[in-house]
C-alpha cells in the first residue's frame, strides 16, 4: 500500500507545474498554428510556421467542477456549513483535472493546397474524480456513515508522455473543404491509473462489516526511480509506446458560415517498461475482536483484528505486466458566423471521454482578425458544468515573431477565490504569412458594391490574410 501511494506520488510530482487547457478559444483561433492541436484540418493563416523549442507553446489547465476556494473559505462564513454545502453539490460527475502541454518543437508549412506540420509535444495530465463519497463521510450531516462507503466509481489517471506528430491538411472543393489528419507516435514516461477501485465497506448487520475489495491500479515508469543508477534516457525513451490519430474537417459553406469538427487522441499506449500493478481482490467479513471465551485468548486481540482487516484487502504487487491504455479521446464541433472578414462569432462544442464517461463543454466566442499584427478572441464557456468562464486571447506579430496569450477564464486568473476552471496558454512562434492577395482585396471591394451570389472561391479569412 505504501508503494502504491509512493508510485502515485511520484507520478503526481512529475505532473506538478502542469499547465492547462480546455482549448475553447484556441480551437477557432487559427492565427496561431497551435490551433492544429485541436483540429488538424483547421485552415492556417501562416505560410510557414516554426515553433521555437519549448517556448512556442506552453499551456496549463486547471479544472475543478466540484467547488472553488470561495465556496469553502469565504471570509465571515461558517466553514463547516460551507463544506456541507459543497459536499451536497458533489456527485459522480465532479472532477478535478490538471493538465500541462509543452510544445517541444513544431514546424509547419504550406504545400500548394495542403499544409504539413510536424513536431513534438509533452503532455502531463492528472485527472481524477472528486471522491464525493469521502466528502459525504467527513462533512455531510446525513449519509456520513463510514460503513456505507463505496468507492467503486472513483477514477484517477496520471500520465506524462511525449507525442511526436506528423500532420497534413488538404483543401478540396475550391478550398471550401479542408480535411486534416495527424499521426502521433507516443512515448509514455510515467503513467498510473485506477482500472478498478471497487472498494466497499458495508454493514450487512449491526455486528458485521462486509468488505469488498476489487482494486487494480496499474502504473508504469515510477518504479524506475527505485533503481540505484537512474538512466534518464531509459525513462525518456521507455518502451512504453503507442500511436494515436487526430483528424478533422473544416467546411466553409459560404461567406458567412463555416463549420468544423475534429476527433483527437484516438489511440493508446502500451506500457512495457517499469510496470507495476497493485492488485487487491478479496472479500472479507469484519466482526471486531473475535475471541473464544473458553480459550481466554484476549492477548493482542485488537492487533489481530486490525491485522485481519488489513489482510482482508490482500494487496499484492505484480511487476512486469504490460498493459495498454487508451488516451482520452476528444471531440470538437464548431460553427462560425462571419460578420466580415475581420469579425466572426462562433459556437463550439467540446467533449472528452474518460473511462467511459463523457464530459461536455459549450462555448460561444468572438474572433477579431484586426490585422496580421494583432488578432484577438474572446468568449464564454460552460466547462463541465462550471459557468463562470469568460475567456480572451490575442496574438501579436512582431515581424516574424508571433507572441500569443490566451485563457478560457481570464476572470479566474484574477478572481482566484471563485476559480473552478481556467487555463493559460502562451508561446512565441516564428511565422511567415506570405504576400497579401492584392487582387483579392480589389475584388472584394468591387463585390462590396455589387454582391455576388455565386462565389466559387471562398471568401474567408484565410484568403483575406
Amino acid at each position: 500500500m505504501k508503494k502504491l501511494i509512493g508510485t502515485l506520488s511520484i507520478v503526481l510530482t512529475l505532473s506538478l507545474n502542469v499547465s492547462a487547457q480546455s482549448d475553447m478559444l484556441l480551437y477557432n483561433f487559427n492565427a496561431i498554428s497551435q490551433s492544429l492541436h485541436t483540429n488538424p484540418a483547421m485552415p492556417q493563416q501562416t505560410k510557414v510556421w516554426v515553433g521555437l523549442p519549448v517556448i512556442s507553446g506552453f499551456s496549463t489547465h486547471y479544472h475543478n467542477s466540484g467547488f472553488s476556494a470561495v465556496d469553502i473559505f469565504a471570509a465571515g462564513t461558517d466553514i463547516n456549513a460551507n463544506l456541507r454545502d459543497v459536499t451536497a453539490s458533489l456527485d459522480a460527475s465532479s472532477q478535478l483535472a490538471v493538465n500541462q502541454t509543452v510544445d517541444l518543437l513544431g514546424v509547419g508549412f504550406r504545400i500548394k493546397k495542403g499544409f504539413l506540420s510536424l513536431g513534438a509535444t509533452q503532455h502531463i495530465n492528472v485527472t481524477m474524480d472528486i471522491p464525493y463519497q469521502l466528502f459525504n463521510v467527513l462533512f455531510s450531516e446525513n449519509n456520513n456513515s463510514i460503513t456505507q462507503l463505496d468507492l467503486s466509481t472513483f477514477d484517477l489517471e496520471i500520465s506524462n508522455r511525449t507525442a511526436f506528430y506528423l500532420g497534413y491538411q488538404h483543401r478540396f472543393l475550391d478550398e471550401k473543404l479542408t480535411l486534416g489528419f495527424r499521426a502521433n507516435y507516443l512515448i509514455g514516461q510515467q503513467h498510473a491509473y485506477i482500472e478498478r477501485s471497487n472498494v466497499s465497506l458495508t454493514n450487512d448487520s449491526t455486528y458485521s462489516i462486509q468488505g469488498r475489495s476489487d482494486i487494480m491500479v496499474r502504473s508504469a515508469g515510477a518504479s524506475a526511480f527505485e533503481e540505484d543508477a537512474l538512466d534518464p534516457l531509459n525513462i525518456a525513451l521507455a518502451d512504453n509506446t503507442g500511436f494515436a490519430i487526430n483528424f478533422g474537417a473544416h467546411y466553409q459553406m459560404n461567406d458567412k458560415w463555416s463549420f468544423s469538427a475534429s476527433v483527437l487522441d484516438l489511440g493508446s499506449i502500451t506500457y512495457n517498461d517499469y510496470t507495476r500493478n497493485y492488485v487487491s481482490d478479496s472479500q472479507f467479513e469484519f466482526r471486531g475482536i473475535e475471541a473464544d471465551l473458553a480459550a481466554n485468548d484476549f492477548d493482542n486481540a485488537l492487533d489481530r483484528a486490525l491485522d485481519s482487516l488489513e489482510a482482508g484487502f490482500n494487496f499484492e504487487e505484480v511487476n512486469g505486466e504490460s498493459y495498454t491504455k487508451s488516451l482520452m479521446p476528444r471531440v470538437f464541433a464548431a460553427a462560425n458566423y462571419h460578420l466580415s472578414d475581420k469579425h466572426a462569432f462562433g459556437a463550439l462544442y467540446h467533449s472528452r471521454v474518460w473511462n467511459g464517461e463523457a464530459f461536455h463543454d459549450f462555448g460561444v466566442n468572438y474572433q477579431g482578425r484586426i490585422s496580421r499584427t494583432f488578432q484577438w478572441t474572446a468568449g464564454y464557456s460552460i466547462i463541465n458544468g462550471t459557468v463562470n468562464n469568460i475567456g480572451a486571447g490575442f496574438d501579436l506579430k512582431l515581424g516574424a515573431f508571433q507572441l500569443y496569450l490566451m485563457s478560457d477564464n481570464i476572470l479566474g486568473m484574477v478572481d482566484y477565490g471563485g476559480l473552478q476552471t481556467t487555463n493559460f496558454r502562451f508561446g512565441i512562434n516564428f511565422t511567415f504569412y506570405g504576400k497579401k492577395d492584392k487582387n483579392k482585396k480589389k475584388k472584394e471591394a468591387a463585390e462590396t458594391s455589387a454582391p455576388s451570389t455565386n462565389n466559387n472561391q471562398s471568401n474567408n479569412f484565410i484568403n483575406y490574410f
Binding site: F73, Y207, I209, G288, E290, L293, A294, I370
Partner: protein, 516 residues
C-alpha cells in the same frame, strides 16, 4: 465594436476585483463528523471447550452432561506416632548387694491415656542404666540386666553394664532397636515388664563388704515398630488448614448456586487396627468473604482388620446430613478445615488394637456433583482500577455513542450487567448503565436447553455519560446470574451449550481536524 468589447472585459475585471475575501485561517475550525457502526467484538463460548481445560474441576459425563468433580487427597493424615506413643519411662531403682547380688521385679510400662499394651516391638529406643555405689571397688564390677519378657533376635534380652574399678558411679545406655516385648505375662496382664539385674557370679567376690549398688533402669526414646493391645481412649487434634477450591468458569462469582444434588465425600484409608471417630469443621469462604459451614456430622473410621490391610471408609455428606447445599451455594473459593480424631471412642470393646510404624490414617476430600442446579442471584462484583481514557482535550469528540449488544444464548442462564463509573479520586459513582446482557434459554422438563434465547440491548452514551466515562478512574462491573425462570427452575449443563455475544458501536463524531 472593438471598443465595446474592451469595455465589457474591463467591467468584468472590475466585478472580479469585488469578489469575496478568502480566510484560510478558517481551516482551524474544520470539524469532520463521520459516523459509523463498527463491530467491536464477537465472543463465543462453548461449554465443552471450557471444560477441556485440563485443570478444570468440571468433567464431562458420557451423555455430555457436566459435573463438578474435585478431589483433595490427604486433607488429614495421621501417622502411627500421632496415634500411639510410648513416653520415656521414669527410672526404677533396683538395689544389689553382696548378700543379694540378683534381683528380679515386675513393673508397669508407662503409657499415655491408659493404653494397655499386650505386645510391642520397638524399632528404636534405649535402655538407660545408672549405677551408684557408696564405695568404690578395687575391681570392675559387672551387672547383667535382663528383660525376661523381651526377646532380641530370638533370645531373651540381656545386657551387661560394667562399673569400672575405683568408680562409684556408672551412667550408660544400650540400644534396643528391634526389641520385642510381651507385656501380657502369659495373657494375664498388660504393660508388664519383667526385669532382672544381677552382679555376674565371677564378680560377686569382688564386691566390697556392705556395698550397695543402686541400679536405675529406664526405657527412653522408644519408637514403636508394631504394637498391640488397647491403645486407650483419647482425642487427637488435627492441625487446622485450608485449601483453594476453584471451579473454572464461576470462580469469580459469589453466592446463589444451588446444586440440586450436592454431595461431598470424605474417604478414609486406615492401616491402624483402631476404631477412630473423626470430627470435622469445614467452612467455605467465598470471594466476598462470606463463610458458610458444612456442618458435617461426625463419622467413624473403621479399624483395619489385620496388619497390612487398608480399610477404606467413605462418608458422604449430602443435603440430608449436612448444610452442603448452602455450603456450595456460597461458591466457596477457599475451604478452611479443622478437626480431631477420637481413638477407641466407645472404649475397650472389640478386637485388640494394633499399629505398626507404617500405619496411618489418610482422609481425602472429594466433591462429585452433577451440574444440575438452580442459580438465584449469583453475583460477580469486580472493579477495574486505573481505568483512564483521554480525549486529548477534545471532550466533545463524540456527539453520542450507542453500544449494541446481541446475544445468542444457548445456556439456561440470565445475565444482567451493571457498569458503574467511579470517580478517579473518591471512587463515588458518577454514572453508569445496566443491561440485560443474556436471556436464559428455555428448557424442557428435564432441565435441558431446547433453543437459544436472543437478546438485543442498546446503551446510549449521551454527552453526560461520555464525560463521566472520561472522568472515571475505575469501572465496577456487577453481574447477576439467574437460571431459567428467574432462578426458580433447576437446569442441567451440557457440553453442547453455546454462547455468542456480539458488540458494536455506533458513533457520531465531531472531530476538530487541528486536534488530530
Amino acid at each position: 465594436m472593438k471598443k465595446n468589447l474592451f469595455r465589457v472585459l474591463f467591467l468584468g475585471l472590475v466585478l472580479v476585483s469585488c469578489s469575496e475575501e478568502l480566510d484560510f485561517s478558517m481551516t482551524d475550525d474544520i470539524a469532520i463528523n463521520p459516523s459509523g457502526t463498527v463491530p467491536l467484538a464477537t465472543l463465543t463460548l462453548n461449554l465443552g471447550d471450557l471444560v477441556n481445560d485440563v485443570d478444570s474441576s468440571i468433567v464431562v459425563d458420557p451423555n455430555n452432561a457436566l459435573r463438578i468433580y474435585y478431589r483433595q487427597d490427604s486433607v488429614f493424615t495421621y501417622s502411627a506416632s500421632d496415634i500411639l506413643t510410648i513416653p520415656d519411662q521414669d527410672p526404677f531403682d533396683l538395689a544389689v548387694t553382696e548378700s543379694q547380688p540378683f534381683f528380679r521385679v515386675g513393673v508397669a510400662l508407662g503409657t499415655i491415656s491408659g493404653a494397655q499394651l499386650a505386645a510391642a516391638t520397638f524399632s528404636s529406643g534405649k535402655i538407660g542404666m545408672e549405677i551408684n555405689a557408696r564405695d568404690s571397688a578395687l575391681n570392675d564390677i559387672r551387672f547383667e540386666l535382663t528383660f525376661y519378657n523381651a526377646v532380641l533376635n530370638g533370645q531373651t534380652y540381656s545386657d551387661t553394664f560394667t562399673l569400672p574399678a575405683l568408680q562409684s558411679t556408672l551412667i550408660d545406655s544400650s540400644v534396643i532397636n528391634g526389641l520385642t516385648f510381651d507385656f501380657s505375662d502369659g495373657g494375664t496382664r498388660v504393660n508388664f515388664l519383667d526385669i532382672g539385674i544381677k552382679v555376674l557370679d565371677a564378680d560377686t567376690a569382688l564386691i566390697p563388704d556392705n556395698a550397695i549398688y543402686t541400679c536405675g533402669v529406664a526405657l527412653r526414646d522408644l519408637g514403636l515398630e508394631v504394637a498391640s493391645g488397647y491403645f486407650g481412649q483419647r482425642t487427637q487434634a488435627a492441625p487446622a488448614g485450608s485449601f483453594d477450591f476453584e471451579i473454572n468458569g464461576i470462580e469469580n462469582f459469589a453466592g446463589g448456586l444451588f446444586l440440586t444434588d450436592p454431595s461431598v465425600s470424605l474417604i478414609t484409608k486406615s492401616t491402624v487396627g483402631l476404631p477412630i471417630r473423626i470430627v470435622t469443621d469445614f467452612d467455605g469462604q467465598n470471594l466476598e468473604g462470606n463463610v458458610v459451614s458444612l456442618d458435617a456430622p461426625d463419622f467413624n473410621i473403621l479399624a483395619s482388620p489385620s496388619p497390612g490391610v487398608v480399610q477404606e471408609s467413605r462418608f458422604t455428606l449430602d443435603a440430608n446430613n449436612s448444610a452442603i447445599t448452602n455450603f456450595l451455594a456460597n461458591i466457596p473459593q477457599k475451604i478452611l478445615y479443622a478437626g480431631n480424631l477420637s481413638l477407641n471412642p466407645d472404649g475397650d470393646v472389640g478386637p485388640p488394637n494394633f499399629i505398626s510404624s507404617s500405619s496411618d490414617i489418610v482422609i481425602d476430600f472429594e466433591v462429585d456433583v452433577p451440574m444440575e442446579m438452580r442459580i438465584d442471584q449469583m453475583r460477580l462484583d469486580q472493579t477495574i482500577d486505573d481505568f483512564k481514557i483521554s480525549a486529548g482535550g477534545n471532550e466533545d469528540f463524540f456527539e453520542d455513542i450507542k453500544l449494541f449488544f446481541n446475544s445468542e444464548n444457548g445456556m439456561p442462564l440470565d445475565l444482567s450487567l451493571r457498569v458503574v463509573l467511579q470517580d478517579s479520586i473518591t471512587s463515588d459513582s458518577i454514572g453508569g448503565f445496566e443491561i440485560g446482557l443474556l436471556n436464559a434459554a428455555p428448557i424442557n422438563s428435564s432441565g435441558r436447553v431446547i433453543a437459544p434465547a436472543i437478546a438485543d440491548n442498546e446503551v446510549v452514551f449521551d454527552q453526560a455519560l461520555i464525560l463521566a466515562l472520561l472522568r472515571s478512574g475505575s469501572l465496577r462491573f456487577i453481574a447477576t446470574v439467574n437460571s431459567t425462570n428467574n432462578g426458580q427452575d433447576p437446569v442441567k449443563m451440557y457440553t453442547d451449550y453455546d454462547l455468542v455475544i456480539r458488540a458494536a458501536i455506533e458513533a457520531n463524531s465531531n472531530i476538530k481536524v487541528n486536534s488530530l
